[in-house]
């Protein structure tokens, strides 16, 4: 019951003891540390790895690692939207693969019409790739809202369907050369995955833009608040006149579009599209979101936290490769870090609620 929330105490009886005040200050410091734990973990990682290898903390390696982070971060930002509503999207890796194949096919062999083969410019191809991702996301959303399929099941099914569709697209083959030709007017696909602006890879700029837009949408728009409300208490959201189904469909569309964008970046960097692109990437994306403090139950989390989570995973994986740790240990360490992060999340919640109680 609410008895623990006591009305403001009479001033005479309740001046806190100095000792208690000290404890509270300590608890506040601990809470601050826990809130920023992803950043703390990241700093610790950088300190550890740079003490092992002098190459770790060089400008070029930081840029490279950030570029590796970009793909997972973009996937994870999309997934965060879904998780904030209390859903889950397991299909993002497959959507990335599908949009990669669609874009790869358009660049490599064009689109066959009865009148002949048509090639699109790179910008149009990228747009089509993203639209494909968004459409698959919309199907996820419709399955979940109109047909009441549990998000886990709907997107698990879509994981297979989209991957199968990616394989069907080329009958299992790879589109090896996406350079395009001047004659077809479709050169320049490498821009988003290979090129740099001001010394920073375009992929990183894209991540920054996606993250910035996502931060604004989640914190500064009614739609963003509606996402949190749906995840926090769906029934209350309904009663507040929020079109819950529309919000849900929208987040799956966003997730699909982000996944497609990530797939395109990966494909551009690789210069080839193959159907297995981004297999199991959904798990890395979900891990980044959870690591960044997004609650799987919905209603709680931040985009910046997710981006930090992606940085931790990326900087950790690359660091382990850099210092030459074997694949098996890489898996073990990554898993341990994720579990540790979730444990500290629990600690944060407990500390926070006890502090709220003390100061209420």
């Amino acid at each position: 019951m609410t008895d623990t929330h006591v009305a403001a105490p009479a001033p005479t009886a309740s001046a806190p003891q100095p000792e208690e005040r000290g404890n509270t200050a300590l608890a506040r410091a601990a809470l601050l540390l826990l809130r920023g734990r992803t950043l703390v973990v990241l700093v610790v990682l950088i300190i550890i790895f740079s003490s092992i290898s002098s190459e770790y903390l060089t400008q070029s390696n930081l840029i490279l690692m950030t570029k590796h982070v970009a793909i997972n971060a973009i996937l994870a930002i999309g997934v965060t939207f879904v998780i904030l509503t209390g859903g889950i999207d397991l299909s993002v890796g497959s959507i990335a693969g599908l949009s990669s194949m669609v874009a790869g096919g358009l660049l490599f062999k064009g689109l066959n019409f009865p009148g002949g083969t048509v090639f699109f410019s790179v910008a149009v191809v990228i747009l089509i790739g993203i639209v494909v991702g968004a459409l698959v996301g919309a199907v996820n959303g419709l399955l979940i809202t109109r047909f009441r399929v549990a998000p886990f099941i709907a997107t698990l099914g879509m994981l297979y369907v989209a991957r199968g569709a990616a394989q069907l697209h080329s009958n299992g083959g790879t589109y090896p050369d996406l350079g395009g030709t001047e004659a077809r007017g479709n050169t320049g696909f490498g821009f988003i995955g290979v090129d740099s602006i001001l010394g920073i890879p375009v992929a990183v700029w894209i991540m920054v833009v996606v993250a910035a837009v996502a931060i604004v949408v989640t914190t500064k728009t009614p739609f963003g608040k509606h996402i949190f409300a749906v995840g926090g208490n769906e029934r209350a959201a309904v009663l507040s006149g929020i079109r819950v189904n529309r919000v849900k469909i929208a987040v799956y569309v966003i997730s699909g579009a982000c996944a497609a964008l990530a797939g395109l970046l990966l494909t551009s960097e690789l210069g080839a599209a193959y159907p297995d692109t981004a297999t199991t990437y959904e798990l890395n994306a979900i891990a980044a979101a959870v690591l960044g403090g997004t609650a799987l139950a919905g209603g709680r989390g931040t985009i910046i936290g997710t981006v930090m989570g992606a940085f931790v995973i990326g900087f950790l994986s690359d660091g382990l490769v850099l210092v030459g740790v074997s694949t098996f240990w890489q898996s073990v360490v990554k898993g341990a870090v994720i579990i540790f992060a979730v444990i500290t999340e629990q600690a944060q919640q407990r500390l926070q609620s006890s502090l709220t109680r003390r100061t209420a």
């Binding site: 290898s53 190459e55 060089t58 070029s60 390696n61 490279l64 690692m65 590796h68 399955l143 109109r146 047909f147 009441r148 399929v149 099914g157 297979y160 369907v161 991957r163 199968g164 569709a165 394989q167 069907l168 009958n171 299992g172 083959g173 790879t174 090896p176 290979v194 990966l266 960097e269 690789l270 210069g271 080839a272 193959y274 159907p275 297995d276 692109t277 981004a278 297999t279 690359d318 490769v321 850099l322 210092v323 030459g324 074997s326 694949t327 098996f328």
Partner: protein, 331 residues
């Protein structure tokens, strides 16, 4: 309830059929048998071809060659993919047994995990002809026709050492650690490379046969070891990923792969990747079908040894133009 159950059921069926469609994409063209009359009850004319996922062009070439050869010999075919999942492979064996296949051509999903399924087929009087990968038991399959990975890796290692001028730093990309061929190839490479004291391996990482993973790991390795002169990869998809990283870093680094896939062959023609080792996948698949045909016609006898090892061929700038579908002209 706002929605009728039938609508949900429709979606479920729809989704299931799409899934089914995706799963047997490879078998589509064979599904229509050449004529209803040929389905004789006793002596079946069906050859079941089971391979890993045709995502990898290597296995696709294998499938295509086996299916084409079987059809030319007058057989029906059923082409399946086990996606390296022994459980799925086992179920596909059940399918083959229940359809009373005349023979099974198999690129298996695990040296130990495949034995019982093959034994089950044998008990049902269906002979299995293994291609590409061996199993850890003899006397179960009729034939085990594999490319000589050790010999091939030796060829690759020699070419790599030659390209490197027998000295300098290099990195190795390993295949999936649980795959025997990953180990055999790495051992084959090192059998040669370790003889040169000036060739120094500075990094060794698994990229799980995957192109994107090879790209990212190579980028990181190049960060740690900027003086690397060469990268030797356990297969061609990883070589392609590694080469993409080399290109992005605007470096001139020797990359050598293994498999002889068309993408790498064309890369060699463009003077990008330097060499690969071609596994005669098409040839092996054709041999397996031929031997199966002979075995069936002889009423269950074979004059070939069970273990057959087919030598690999080195592909470099000299002979790349003659390579087509995992076969070098004249070999």
């Amino acid at each position: 309830m706002k929605y009728l159950p039938s609508r949900r059921a429709f979606i479920a069926v729809g989704a299931a059929s799409v899934l089914a469609l995706a799963a047997c994409g490879g078998g589509d063209d064979d599904a229509s048998s050449s004529g209803g009359s040929s389905a004789a009850p006793a002596a079946s004319k069906l050859i079941v071809i089971i391979t890993p996922s045709p995502d990898n062009v290597f296995f696709k070439a294998e499938q295509d060659a086996a299916a084409a050869q079987a059809k030319s010999l007058g057989y029906e075919t059923l082409v399946l993919s086990h996606d390296d999942d022994p459980t799925k492979q086992s179920q596909q064996f059940d399918t083959a047994i229940s359809r009373k296949a005349a023979a099974i051509i198999l690129d298996n999903a695990g040296a130990d995990a495949s034995v019982t399924a093959i034994q089950r087929a044998k008990d049902a009087n269906i002979p299995t002809f293994l291609i590409d990968r061996e199993i850890n038991k003899t006397g179960v399959a009729v034939a085990q026709i594999v490319s000589n990975n050790a010999q091939g890796a030796g060829l690759g290692g020699q070419e790599f050492a030659k390209l490197m001028g027998n000295k300098g730093e290099y990195a190795e990309l390993l295949g999936k650690p649980t795959d025997t061929n990953a180990g055999v190839r790495s051992k084959g490479y090192h059998g040669i490379l370790d003889q040169y004291p000036d060739l120094k391996m500075v990094a060794q990482q698994s990229a799980n046969w995957d192109q994107a993973e090879a790209l990212q790991k190579t980028q990181t390795i190049l960060q740690a070891h900027p003086n690397i002169k060469g990268i030797i990869a356990g297969n061609d998809t990883m070589a392609l990923g590694a080469y993409a990283a080399v290109q992005a870093a605007k470096k001139d680094i020797i990359v050598v792969g293994f498999d002889g896939s068309p993408d790498v062959v064309s890369s060699i023609q463009k003077k990008a990747i330097k060499a690969t080792v071609l596994q005669p996948a098409s040839k092996i698949a054709q041999m397996a079908v031929d031997q199966a045909d002979a075995y069936i016609k002889a009423g269950g006898k074979t004059d070939q040894p069970e273990k057959q090892s087919i030598d690999c061929v080195l592909v470099n700038a000299d002979n790349a133009d003659t390579v087509k579908d995992f076969a070098v002209a004249g070999s």
